[in-house]
């Protein structure tokens, strides 16, 4: 506090604020995500990406402030999330937050941010209720919602002719949410969900479920959950001779899905909010810079959104200064704001809808469906 006051005084009496970093006021931004436990890969990727945004901004001589990222671990647990959310919200030196990958945590903490008036931008959690379940002006989201994905996925898969679905979902809010929205969405089409299986997030063996599915003989198995489980289910389908097309949601779309499965991953289809980073002008920059920054862990698919969220906040601070309410108002009014994930526009619930992109795993990479050998007819999905 004292040092900050000194700096402020120096700036005032010095008359001229030089561009050197030492004289710039430091502005703190919180990052919250899971950095330990089963979802830590995504959390660490997100933290690195937000850190990258901050470093790039600090390297930019045109920026008015010196930014500092305060990373916090929510362990993907609501109670821990509430604890760290309170910690950053009540720390007056923090202006805004890039918050949460896990939907349960994001939902649990919205009231905390509202109570302490901390504007936050969600970078990874996709349950619609995070923004649509409340009227809190502090909560924003850049990464789209589950609904966007479900919409894209349903029309994509039914369009390919898969009418008889089995859904395997994890029993967290993530998988359950998908199940609910898929059910609603499928009811509007001529396809049907013949059966659904809930599996716990730490389950290892799925032979009972998969053999049951083998008996049902659906046209497609849609998995709603995260990478570790998605990998286990896909590889066990192979082992048990369940020769049915496999589809996932954004939760399985990580580099480690194709790495861990090798050739077995071939032909898995999935959807993800937002176009591949590489295909956007800013996205290419992101991938390049991320590589240059020397992080040991990959950015993971939601990394770019953490980058975007941090950038949005810093843009707002540049505009109105480090004041929570002003930053909140600027964020609320975000419209067609350029970012590495394309232009960002918040709706009346401060939610940025994204057009989900369809992907297929091809030769060890996630490839945009339209660019794949499957779309061009050179390769075929199962049952095609």
């Amino acid at each position: 506090m004292f040092i900050r006051a000194m700096i402020a005084a120096a700036v005032m009496f010095g008359g001229v604020a030089t561009a050197s970093a030492q004289t710039k006021e430091t502005v703190k931004i919180a990052f919250i995500g899971p950095m330990s436990g089963g979802n830590s890969a995504a959390g660490i990727g997100g933290r690195n990406s937000a850190e990258l945004a901050v470093r790039l901004r600090n390297a930019d001589p045109a920026s008015k402030y010196n930014y500092q990222l305060v990373p916090m671990d929510d362990e993907c647990k609501p109670n821990v999330g509430i604890q760290v959310a309170t910690r950053v919200s009540t720390d007056r030196s923090i202006v805004a937050g890039v918050t949460h990958y896990c939907s349960a945590v994001a939902i649990a903490t919205v009231d905390v941010y509202h109570r302490f008036r901390l504007p936050v931008v969600v970078w990874g959690a996709i349950l619609p209720a995070i923004t649509y379940g409340n009227e809190h002006k502090e909560i924003h989201r850049v990464n789209g919602s589950m609904l966007d994905e479900v919409r894209a996925s349903t029309s994509f898969l039914t369009g390919l002719g898969y009418k008889k679905w089995v859904i395997v979902h994890d029993t967290t809010d993530y998988g359950n949410g998908f199940l609910r929205f898929f059910k609603e969405r499928i009811a509007e089409t001529n396809a049907e969900i013949v059966s659904s299986f809930g599996v716990s997030a730490d389950q290892q063996d799925f032979s009972a479920e998969l053999l049951k599915i083998k008996g049902i003989q659906p046209q497609i198995v849609v998995f709603a959950g995260l990478t570790p489980l998605g990998v286990r289910i896909r590889s066990q389908m192979e082992r048990l001779g369940v020769d049915i097309q496999y589809a996932g949601v954004s939760g399985i779309m990580s580099a480690s899905y194709v790495e861990a499965l090798g050739a077995t991953a071939e032909g898995t289809v999935s959807v993800h909010n937002g176009a591949p980073a590489e295909s956007l002008p800013g996205g290419r920059m992101f991938v390049e810079q991320y590589g240059k920054a020397g992080f040991t862990d990959p950015a993971e698919p939601y990394g770019p959104y953490a980058f975007v969220a941090a950038s949005l906040i810093m843009d707002a601070v540049e505009e109105v200064g480090p004041d929570r309410e002003k930053v909140r108002d600027v964020l609320n009014a975000t419209k067609d704001h350029e970012s590495v994930a394309g232009p960002i526009t918040f709706d009346d619930h401060r939610h940025h809808a994204v057009a989900s992109t369809k992907y297929v795993a091809q030769d060890g990479h996630w490839v945009r469906w339209e660019d794949s050998l499957y779309a061009s007819g050179q390769r075929h999905l199962k049952g095609q």
């Binding site: 330990s36 990373p71 609501p78 109670n79 604890q83 309170t86 009540t90 939902i107 809010d173």
Partner: protein
Amino acid sequence: MKLTNLTTSFAVAAIGTLLTGVILVAENQWAVIGALLAAAALSIVLARLKIGMVLASVLNESSAWVALLIPLGGVIIGFALHEEDFVLMMLATVLIYGLACVGLTIQFGYAGVINFAGAAFFGIGGYTAALLGEWGIPSLLIIVAGGMVAAAIGCILILPVLRTKGHYAALITIAFGLLFRSFLEVNHTLGGPQGLKVEGASVAGHSLLDGIQLGSFQASFYLNYVLLALGVFTICFILARNLEKSWIGVNFDAVREDPIGASVFGVNVAYWRIMAFVIGNFVIGLAGAIFAMMQNFIAPSNFTFSDSLIMLSIIVLGGLGNLWAILPAAILVVVMPEKLQEIGEFRILVFAVLVVLVLRFRPSGLFPRALRKFRREVAQ
């Protein structure tokens, strides 16, 4: 003699209050580590020197009313930091976990009934509060109901727990903890994996979620919860102390140390194990209800096996059966990981290593329980 005891207790309370305040407020990592080292040094010195024995026995023999020093210290810290929301929240969390650990101490520390499902009973209290909160029932009643429901559901486990012992009993509570969590997750009537919002507590129509405002004095609403938790903690602490010192406590000791011998001398082992289990779960349920009200939100992932382990770590690190050790240990276990946020993804590893080291080199805990006086005399 009485006077020196009281003075000593005051001194201990003052040092404890001071250290707690410093640890809670310290922002800087080095300050945290410094305070922890000071506490560790203190505990080692106390253990090595005779003064530690004296202190332990003073606290052990002191009247239960000395426990009133706890709310005194708590109120001092609370009001000194009345604007620091986060610090007060941590303080309240420490007190709530401490309360749950009073329950575990009655079960495991006193009667030797092992309970690896502490978090499950904590959760039962929380879910009770969530469900009853919707009906506008007075908050204090809801808290008591949380305890009663936890105690009642615990009764389902009594038969298997009574029939087994040792590691077999441990498995039963582990299995219960695991099934409780997966049940909440797959069962949608209780909010499913997404959890439930919980009404905050209110006293006399005044919601505890509103900050206190008395003239120019403005305080965080967490101060309300600190006071609430402090009140319930102190009551349960004093009751547990009286329990320990009464003939019931002697029965518990007998049942724990030598169940067969106890039954030979006419102690009804099953009866006392049931008593300890039920009373303990009641207290844990109370804690869960307060916790849910303070957090305003509960979800199944709050009540996992590892949360049960955290509670058990507190009572074992502190010193099994020593109620006085609960608060320092709870501060260590609850606050430390939060203060170690700077080391990010390494903090669980660091925490695990620390617990292992303490268990390895101080197996009876940082503040071992003093023996009953008559037993010491026999030994000498």
